[in-house]
C-alpha cells in the first residue's frame, strides 16, 4: 500500500506536538497556523478536533497563530483554512486517538478494539477503565511525525461537525474584550508614523520644532532615512504629532498621478506581461461574435479598525503581537527586514478588526518593530491613523475584462476568449512580489521587482474564475499583467473572481436575450455539472423566477452563478432591485454547495458577509486618487453600504455531505456582483458595464 498523501500543512509541520498537546487541566490544546479574522475558523477547527478525539468542544482550546507552539501554515487566505488546516487537524487527531488507545490497551491488557472513547475517557466494552487521554498522554511520543495511517472517522459518525455550534469568540466580542488594539501593558509607549508617500520618495526637510509644538507633550521622534515615527507615553501626543507632520514635511520624488489613473480603462495600453492560457489562439474568422467589456475600479479593504501592532525588543529578542494573517511568514519577513535571526523573533496573533485580504496589519508590525529596536526594553504600541489605513493599505486592483465569444447556430458559445487587464493581486511580503511597507523607506530599500500573480494552480489572481463553468468547446485566456500600478495592489477577498464572474454572467444574460430565451433556461442548457444545475434551479425557485417580468420597469430581478476558483464552493445568487436614479437592492437569495459543512450557521454568516461586501463594492466603492496618491481617506470619501441600504438576505447551503469541505468566505462575492448587474440591466433595459453602479452611470445609461 502506498503512503497516504498528506496535506501540505502536515508535510511542512510533521511533528504531532506542533498540532496537539494534552494540558494538565484535562483540556486539549489544538494548534493551527490559521487565524481568526472574524470568519469563525477557530470554532470550526475546534469542532473537527472534538469530533475526531471524542472530546467535548469545551475541552478543546484552540491555539491560533503562534510561532512558539503552533504549525507554520503560511497565511490565512483563499478560503483554504477548513480544507488545509481542518484536514490536517483531522488526521493528527485520528492518529493521536489511535496511539492513545494502543497505550491504554497495553495498560488494560486488552485489545484497542475493545476500547471506546466518551468525553475523552476510555471505556472497555462500555465500562469505565479509569484511563483517558490525560492518563496516557505522558507515554505517547508526540514528537513523532504524523504518518496519516490512522483513518479519520466517516462523515456519518460526526456528532459535532455539521452542527451550528455558537462561535467560541463571540461572547468576548459582545462584551468589549480585547483586540490587539486593546492590549496596553504598563509603561507602554504609543507610536504613530509619518509615511513615505510612495516608494522612492525622499524626505528633504522636516520641521521637527513645529511638530513638537503641535504634539504638546513628551515626544520622541524616531527617524531612519525616510521612515519617521512619533513616540510618546501619551497616545494623543503621538497622534497629534503624526496628524501635524505631513504639513511640516517636504518630499522629493513624489509620484505624479492624474484622474485617469484611478480608472480601470487606464490599464489598457500599459506595459504588461502577456500570458496566454488554454486553447490555441484562433486564426479563422468568427461566425457570430458576441462581446462584452466590464470593469471594476481599485477597491479597499476598509476595515473598521486601523492596523495596529505591539513590539518589544529585550535582551536581543523581539516579541511582536499582530493581527496579521500568518505569524510564521510575518516572523520570516521581519527577520529579513530587521537583519535578525528568525529564532530571535516571536510572533503571536491577537485578533483585530475584520480582515478581507492583505491589508496593513503586517506593515504595522514592522513599523512597531522598527521603533522597538530603537527603544529597547519598552513595549511599543503602534497604530495607524484612519487616513493612513485608507491611503497605505494595499488595494484590490482595478480590472478590465473583455469577452469575445463566437456563437454556434443555436446561439451557444462555441469559442471563447477572455482578455484581462489587471495589476498584480499579490504583493505579500516574502512572496517575491512585494515587501513590508516600511522597508521601502529604510536606507537600503529593496530593488523593484517584477510583479507576479498567483499561479493557476493556486486559483490565479487576475484570472481567478475567468474560465466559465459552462459547456464551452474552446476557451482561452489572454492575461495582461500590468507591470506598474499607480498604487500598491494585493489580495482582496476573491481576487479577480468578482470582475470575471461579473463579465461571464453579464454575457450569459446578453446571450440569452440574443437567443430570445430566459436567462435561467439558457444557462441550464449549457451547464452539465449536476451540483451546479441544482443551485441554479434552487435559487430560481427561491426568487420566484418564473414570475419575473419583461423588464424595463425600474424593478429588476437578476441571477448569477460561479464555482469559486472553479474548484471550491459553488454559489448561485439572485437579487431583486429597484432603480430610480440610484440602485436599491431589495432582496438577495444565495444558495451554496460547500461540500461537508462543519458549522452551517458560521458558513451562512460568511455567505451573508460576502454578499454585503460585494454589494458595497458593486454599488458604491472606488478608491480615488489625487496628484500624488490615494485621496479617499475617510468614510465620507469612501462610503460603504449602510444599515439602511442592506437588503433582506436569504442564504442557504444545500446538503453537500459526501463531498469534501471547502471554504465559503469568498464564493458569494462574484455571483452577488453579477446578479445585481443583471438585475439592474433587467430594471433599466440597458446594461451598466462599469462598477460601481453609481447614479451618474445610471443617468448616463438612460440618457
Amino acid at each position: 500500500m502506498s503512503a497516504p498523501v498528506l496535506p501540505t500543512s502536515l508535510v511542512d509541520n510533521p511533528r504531532l506536538d506542533r498540532w496537539i498537546h494534552f494540558n494538565p487541566d484535562r483540556t486539549v490544546r489544538i494548534a493551527t497556523g490559521k487565524v481568526e479574522i472574524g470568519q469563525g475558523v477557530v470554532t470550526a477547527l475546534g469542532q473537527i478536533a472534538a469530533d475526531e478525539l471524542d472530546v467535548p468542544l469545551e475541552r478543546i482550546a484552540v491555539l491560533s497563530g503562534s510561532t512558539d507552539h503552533g504549525p507554520d501554515e503560511m497565511y490565512t487566505t483563499s478560503s483554504l483554512s477548513i480544507e488545509m488546516s481542518g484536514g490536517s487537524i483531522r488526521l493528527v487527531c485520528a492518529e493521536v486517538r489511535a496511539k492513545a488507545l494502543d497505550r491504554a490497551a497495553l495498560r488494560l491488557n486488552c485489545s484497542p478494539d475493545d476500547l471506546s472513547v466518551v468525553d475523552g475517557q476510555f471505556l472497555q466494552n462500555g465500562a469505565a477503565t479509569g484511563q483517558d487521554y490525560w492518563t496516557v498522554a505522558g507515554e505517547i511520543d508526540l514528537s513523532q511525525p504524523v504518518t496519516g495511517s490512522a483513518p479519520p472517522k466517516k462523515a456519518d459518525a460526526y456528532k459535532i461537525v455539521g452542527r451550528s455550534v455558537p462561535r467560541l469568540d463571540l461572547p468576548a466580542k459582545v462584551s468589549g474584550a480585547a483586540f490587539v488594539h486593546d492590549v496596553l501593558p504598563a509603561s507602554v509607549l504609543h507610536a504613530r508614523t509619518l509615511r513615505q508617500p510612495n516608494p522612492g520618495a525622499t524626505l528633504t526637510s522636516f520641521d521637527e520644532a513645529a511638530i513638537r509644538r503641535a504634539a504638546k507633550g513628551e515626544l520622541q521622534i524616531v527617524r531612519e532615512a525616510n521612515f519617521v515615527a512619533f513616540v510618546s507615553p501619551v497616545e494623543s501626543v503621538a497622534q497629534a504629532a503624526a496628524a501635524a507632520a505631513p504639513a511640516h514635511a517636504r518630499w522629493d520624488k513624489l509620484r505624479e498621478l492624474t484622474a485617469a489613473h484611478q480608472e480601470a480603462a487606464w490599464l489598457k495600453g500599459q506595459p504588461a506581461e502577456d500570458r496566454h492560457i488554454g486553447a490555441p489562439m484562433r486564426t479563422d474568422k468568427p461566425r457570430n461574435l458576441a462581446q462584452i467589456t466590464v470593469s471594476r475600479p481599485y477597491v479597499a479593504h476598509a476595515s473598521m479598525g486601523p492596523s495596529c501592532a505591539l513590539a518589544e525588543f529585550r535582551d536581543g529578542h523581539l516579541t511582536v503581537r499582530s493581527h496579521g494573517q500568518g505569524m510564521h511568514p510575518l516572523r520570516k519577513n521581519l527577520a529579513a527586514a530587521l537583519g535578525l535571526p528568525i529564532e530571535a523573533i516571536t510572533a503571536t496573533h491577537i485578533q483585530g478588526p475584520g480582515c478581507y485580504g492583505h491589508n496593513g496589519a503586517d506593515d504595522a508590525a514592522l513599523d512597531a518593530a522598527l521603533v522597538a529596536m530603537r527603544i529597547p526594553g519598552r513595549c511599543i504600541r503602534l497604530q495607524w491613523r484612519r487616513e493612513e489605513e485608507f491611503a497605505f493599505e494595499p488595494v484590490g486592483p482595478a480590472m478590465l475584462v473583455t469577452l469575445h465569444v463566437d456563437l454556434d447556430a443555436r446561439g451557444r458559445p462555441a469559442d471563447w476568449t477572455t482578455e484581462i487587464w489587471s495589476a498584480t493581486h499579490v504583493q505579500r511580503p516574502g512572496s517575491g512580489s512585494g515587501f513590508l511597507l516600511a522597508t521601502e523607506a529604510l536606507p537600503n530599500p529593496p530593488p523593484e521587482v517584477q510583479p507576479t500573480d498567483p499561479t493557476e494552480a493556486r486559483g490565479g489572481g487576475g484570472t481567478r474564475n475567468a474560465v466559465p463553468l459552462y459547456d464551452v468547446p474552446a476557451h482561452r485566456i489572454v492575461h495582461h499583467l500590468v507591470q506598474r500600478a499607480p498604487v500598491r495592489t494585493s489580495a482582496l477577498r476573491g481576487l479577480g473572481a468578482l470582475p470575471n464572474v461579473y463579465a461571464i454572467e453579464s454575457l450569459m444574460d446578453d446571450l440569452a436575450a440574443r437567443a430570445g430565451e430566459d436567462p435561467v433556461a439558457y444557462r441550464l442548457s449549457i451547464l452539465s455539472e449536476p451540483r451546479a444545475r441544482r443551485l441554479v434551479e434552487r435559487v430560481a425557485e427561491l426568487a420566484d423566477w418564473t414570475s419575473r417580468g419583461a423588464g424595463g420597469s425600474g424593478k429588476g430581478l437578476g441571477m448569477a452563478f460561479a464555482r469559486y476558483k472553479n474548484r471550491a464552493a459553488y454559489a448561485a445568487v439572485a437579487a431583486s432591485v429597484t432603480v430610480d436614479e440610484t440602485v436599491r437592492v431589495d432582496r438577495v437569495w444565495c444558495v451554496a454547495d460547500a461540500g461537508l459543512v462543519v458549522n452551517p450557521d458560521g458558513a451562512r454568516n460568511q455567505l451573508e458577509g460576502g454578499i454585503i461586501q460585494a454589494l458595497s463594492w458593486t454599488l458604491k466603492e472606488q478608491v480615488r486618487f489625487d496628484d500624488h496618491g490615494i485621496a479617499s481617506v475617510d468614510w465620507d470619501g469612501y462610503p460603504i453600504l449602510r444599515f439602511s441600504e442592506v437588503p433582506e438576505l436569504h442564504a442557504e447551503l444545500v446538503d453537500g455531505a459526501g463531498n469534501p469541505s471547502v471554504g465559503v468566505g469568498e464564493c458569494s462575492v462574484g455571483p452577488t456582483a453579477a446578479a445585481v448587474g443583471n438585475a439592474v440591466a433587467h430594471a433599466l433595459g440597458v446594461r451598466i458595464h462599469d462598477m460601481p453602479l453609481t447614479r451618474e452611470r445610471i443617468l448616463k445609461a438612460l440618457a
Binding site: 472574524g38 459582545v174 485578533q351 483585530g352 460603504i640 444599515f643 439602511s644
Partner: protein
C-alpha cells in the same frame, strides 16, 4: 486638571486637560478598552458610548464637556459568562463577525431600547444607521436588537 464624572455608575476623577477626548480617557486612563477607535471623525460609530443615556461619539467628545455627567460603556453590561440580555440576543443571533463594530452598536441599541422597548425594524435601522459594519453582519445585528426588544 481633575475632571469628575460618573462612569458605569462609579464616581471617577481623571487628571487630564479638558480637551482630552472621552475615548482616550476611557481607554488609557480608566482601562475601559471595550470602546473602540475606528476613525476619530464621527463617521463609523465604533466609539459610541452613552452620556446621560444618549449615544455620543467618544472619539471627538472633549472630556471637559462631560464633567459631572454619567457615561455608560459596553463594560456596564454583562461579561462573557454573564451576558446582559441585549448581549445574549446578539449571541442568540450569532450577530457579528470580527466584532470590532459591536461595542458601539450595542450601546446605540441599548439607548434605543431604553427609550423604546419594542422598536420596529425601521426604528432599529434608523438608530443604527450611524454605525458601519464592514463584515456584513447587518441583518443579524438588526434581528438581535429585535429579539432583545421582544424579550424586554
Amino acid at each position: 486638571m481633575a475632571i469628575a464624572l460618573t462612569v458605569n455608575g462609579n464616581a471617577r476623577s481623571v487628571d487630564v486637560a479638558g480637551t482630552t477626548t472621552l475615548l482616550e480617557v476611557l481607554r488609557n486612563h480608566l482601562g475601559l478598552m471595550g470602546t473602540r477607535y475606528g476613525c476619530g471623525l464621527e463617521q463609523c460609530g465604533a466609539c459610541m458610548v452613552l452620556v446621560d443615556g444618549e449615544p455620543i461619539y467618544a472619539c471627538t467628545r472633549e472630556t471637559g464637556t462631560v464633567a459631572g455627567r454619567s457615561v455608560t460603556t459596553i463594560e456596564s453590561l454583562g461579561t462573557p459568562d454573564k451576558p446582559h440580555p441585549l448581549q445574549q440576543a446578539f449571541l442568540d443571533e450569532q450577530a457579528g463577525q470580527c466584532g470590532y463594530c459591536l461595542s458601539g452598536i450595542i450601546m446605540s441599541a441599548k439607548a434605543l431600547l431604553d427609550r423604546n422597548p419594542a422598536p420596529t425594524r425601521t426604528e432599529i435601522v434608523t438608530a443604527l444607521d450611524r454605525h458601519l459594519c464592514r463584515c456584513g453582519a447587518h441583518q443579524r445585528i438588526i434581528r438581535a436588537v429585535e429579539r432583545a426588544g421582544r424579550a424586554a
